[in-house]
Amino acid sequence: MRVNGAWREADVWPGTSLLAFLREALGLYGSKNACEQGECGSCSVWLDGTLACSCLVLAAQAHEREVRTVEGLTSGDRLHPIQEAFLEAGAVQCGFCTPGFVVAVADLLDKDANPSPATVREALSGNLCRCTGYQKILDAVQLAAERRRAGS
């Protein structure tokens, strides 16, 4: 499969999830496993441009398809503006949920540059965070959206 722009392959047993493939076979540990049931969003990636829980997709289903992970958001030392906003707003505590949230927020803002608070909550309702109570995550989304509008 093409992962963050590069073709990658590995031999795995047929039951391997895309999440396990990314983590254990390719060493891309940015996508996290907190439930393996599609409930927490920690494993969020794009599969052919569509947001997906990689724990619910078989690696085999992604055969010859395009996968983008949190590692694909940045190159080098520069942070993605959403990552920058998360840091500034204090939206990170333990950080285990953060890569999944960053991916989900990037997906949301690509589709809707000016989401209402209700739209943001709805869009992020599949991502669990146990540390922050979500308030600072909402602040981060707002900050990132404002900056993006100001910049474009």
Partner: protein, 692 residues
């Protein structure tokens, strides 16, 4: 050099997290991300029964299963067979008896995770099933089977203060219950054990207290303390769940046996079985007066059952008590015809108030201030149910009505939590600080064994160093057991304890630098190690009187809820929390702690409970055990009340727990206010709200 408390990046400022960049990029290494060449995966066989005798264990088939390198049972534990944080009564691997469903019976090491898990099925355990004790009151009956040989009482504590038979003009009483809550940190239990050339082992682990793990591990492995070295790995939240040992001993046993690195990482389901939960409680109370009373009798009993074991969770022990006494205070307000918040303001604890243990509150106690701040906050505006976006109805899209039966309710609660360890425990933390200079200028390095579980300790430590030394470049060295203990990241204690140790070490280094000509003239590195102790506390005497606690943090919450009275669905419109923080060392992260603690409190009030049927855990997944999502959480309005605490570094109190203590009580009070129902148990279910 002088101490500049307004220094850029120092204490009092909302400095960004020092571990933030790797965390947002997905590069931060959590324990579940650890790997090593040649490593094996470990997996755990757990008892399916809450109470059973083990007749036999046959591992022959499992040893022959594909990829399996080792299968261990209790006979393979070389040293002490039991572990425990306080009392070592929990088997490393069950020998003759299993005491809860999920207790570890055997562990397997295999070439990969799937093979290890598959091999568990090949272990044949023959159980003789026994009747379990699954209720806390049943456990106290004389006919109850003893869970441990000494019986089912863990501890009974009686506190008698003044004249317990004194009479009051008005009495209120009630029975209250809280369910078993799960900490549900998003990062699962995980670690990597690497056998060492000296016959010892190195364990890379997500924990709350490296040294307490070490002290439990070494005797079980039959190794001297210095041959077991623990190194902190990335921690994906803790909230008390990592205070007890989970896979630590198992991974080390397998590593020592196979002489290969062992990785263990629980899945979500196993995580529910693999760590302790918040104790469920049942409380009866009768009050003749609010808060500070001259006469009191309290009796508390902790019992063993065959339900899953319980331990620390944020607000340990204070959450359950607050839920009960705050319901009582509302009853008293009705009895005395007072507004609930007025009753609380009038009778608020303050500095000098005497607690039922006879202990006066020596430090600051701005309880009235917290309540008054809440009182001044406007209520969220009323919204008509007509034409409302259905997502904004209680229950959201799941609400099949049109908002015909909505009722709003407001509730308040106030409460407190002890900070640090109590009852005479010598609470201490050690820190090492070194200052050197290179081409980029001065550099301060800090090492402690203290764990940043996500609360932001490393950032606070960095701020303290900048403030004390005036050096911007601060490097936190990875925590391990090569330095003295820092105690646990629990009981809201690390800012005061490890913060205090770092401050002391910085002061020693600063004095030395000043003696030798100042920072400009630094020729060789200067270092110091210091230990911070909080003031000694005392044990309780036979009638529960004494000086058991160092100090307390107070908080108050107001909840505004909307209940659909026909469907029993709830929407929390707003939480407001005013908290006594001493001094906010990093205001943004203080807010983050209050907001996050509030979410866990809301969870306990409305949805979170480990469901048990005959000792079996029925909801061990995020599909079935619900924690608040972003749709469940209302805005949290925070009021930080700053009144520095004498005797603590910078006057800062721990901030992690009070919101979790008061929010459940406030939310349920609001539900009572909306529905007029007694609601004596949390979490409150839809059935309770419609009276089924």
């Amino acid at each position: 050099m002088s101490v500049d408390i307004r220094r850029q990046g120092g204490v009092g400022q909302s400095v960004r997290r020092v571990d933030g960049v790797p965390k947002v990029k997905g590069e931060f290494e959590y324990a579940s991300d650890l790997r090593r060449d040649g490593m094996l995966w470990g997996a755990t066989l757990r008892s399916p029964h809450p109470h059973a005798r083990i007749v036999s264990i046959d591992t022959t088939a499992a040893l022959e299963a594909p990829g399996v390198v080792a299968v261990l049972t209790h006979t393979d534990v070389p040293g002490k067979k039991t572990f425990g944080l306080d009392v070592q009564d929990q088997p490393v691997l069950a020998a003759d008896l299993v005491r809860y469903a999920g207790e570890a019976v055997a562990v397997v090491a295999a070439e990969d995770h799937e093979l290890a898990r598959a091999a568990l099925k090949a272990i044949a355990v023959n159980y003789e099933v026994l009747t379990p004790v699954t209720d806390m009151e049943q456990a106290l009956e004389p006919t109850a089977p003893p869970v441990h040989p000494q019986g089912n009482v863990v501890r009974t504590l009686t506190i008698v203060h003044g004249d317990p038979n004194a009479l009051a003009d008005a009495w209120v009483e009630g029975m209250y219950e809280t369910g078993m809550q799960d900490q549900a940190p998003l990062g699962p239990e995980a670690g990597l054990a690497v056998p060492a050339a000296d016959g010892g082992v190195d364990l890379f682990i997500a924990t709350q207290w490296l040294h307490a793990d070490l002290e439990q591990l070494a005797p079980c492995l039959d190794l001297p303390l210095e041959k077991v070295r623990l190194h902190l790995s990335g921690v994906g939240g803790a909230f008390g769940a990592r205070e007890d040992v989970s896979m630590q001993i198992h991974a080390c046993l397998l590593a020592l046996r196979t002489k290969r690195p062992i990785k263990m990482s629980y899945g979500r389901q196993e995580s529910f079985y693999g760590h302790v939960h918040r104790h469920p409680s049942r409380v009866w109370m009768r009050h003749g007066a609010p808060y500070e009373v001259p006469n009191a009798r309290l009796e508390g009993t902790a019992v063993f059952t065959n339900n899953p074991p319980c331990g620390a969770m944020r607000g340990f022990g204070a959450v359950q008590a607050c839920f009960a006494y705050e319901a009582q205070m509302d009853k008293l307000a009705v009895e005395l015809n007072l507004d609930p918040i007025e009753l609380r303001i009038k009778n608020a604890l303050r500095s000098g108030s005497v607690l039922p243990t006879g202990q006066p509150i020596a430090g600051v106690a701005p309880v009235r201030e917290c309540l008054q701040r809440l009182q001044q906050l406007p209520l969220p505006p009323e919204e008509s149910a007509l034409d409302r976006d259905p997502m904004l109805l209680p229950g959201g899209a799941g609400n099949v009505g049109h908002g015909e039966a909505l009722k709003r309710g407001v509730g308040v609660a106030v409460g407190y939590k002890n900070l640090g360890y109590s009852e005479g425990f010598d609470d201490a933390s050690e820190a090492w600080v070194r200052v050197s200079a290179d081409r980029e200028g001065p550099l301060a390095e800090v090492k402690t064994a203290a764990v940043d579980v996500g609360q932001g300790l490393d950032t606070i430590v960095t701020q303290i160093v900048r403030t004390e030394l005036g050096i911007d470049r601060v490097l936190i060295r990875p925590p391990d057991t090569a330095i003295g203990s820092a105690g646990s990241s629990s009981a809201s204690r690390q800012t005061m304890m490890t913060g205090g140790a770092v401050q002391l070490a910085c002061q020693a280094v600063r004095a030395e630098i000043e003696r030798s000509g100042g920072l400009q003239d630094l020729r060789r590195p200067v270092e110091a190690t210091r230990v911070f102790h909080h003031r000694p506390t005392g044990k309780l005497d036979a009638s529960g009187q004494g000086d058991p606690h160092v100090t307390f943090a107070f908080g108050a919450a107001r909840a505004v809820v909307e209940v659909d009275q026909e469907l029993g669905l709830v929407r929390v419109l707003q939480l407001a929390v005013a908290q006594d923080v001493g001094r906010a060392l990093n205001p943004q992260s203080v807010l983050g702690q209050i907001e996050g603690g509030s979410a866990q409190g809301l969870g306990l009030a409305l949805m979170e409970e480990v469901a048990l049927v005959d000792g079996q855990l029925k909801n061990a997944s995020f599909t079935d055990y619900l924690i608040p999502t972003i749709l469940d959480m209302p805005p949290v309005v925070c009021e930080i009340v700053e009144e520095p605490e004498p005797g603590l570094p910078y006057g800062a109190k721990g901030v992690g727990e009070p919101s979790t203590v008061v929010v459940p009580a406030a939310v349920v009070a609001a539900l009572r206010n909306a529905t007029g129902r007694e609601l004596r148990r949390a979490p409150v279910k839809p059935d309770d709200l419609v009276g089924l």
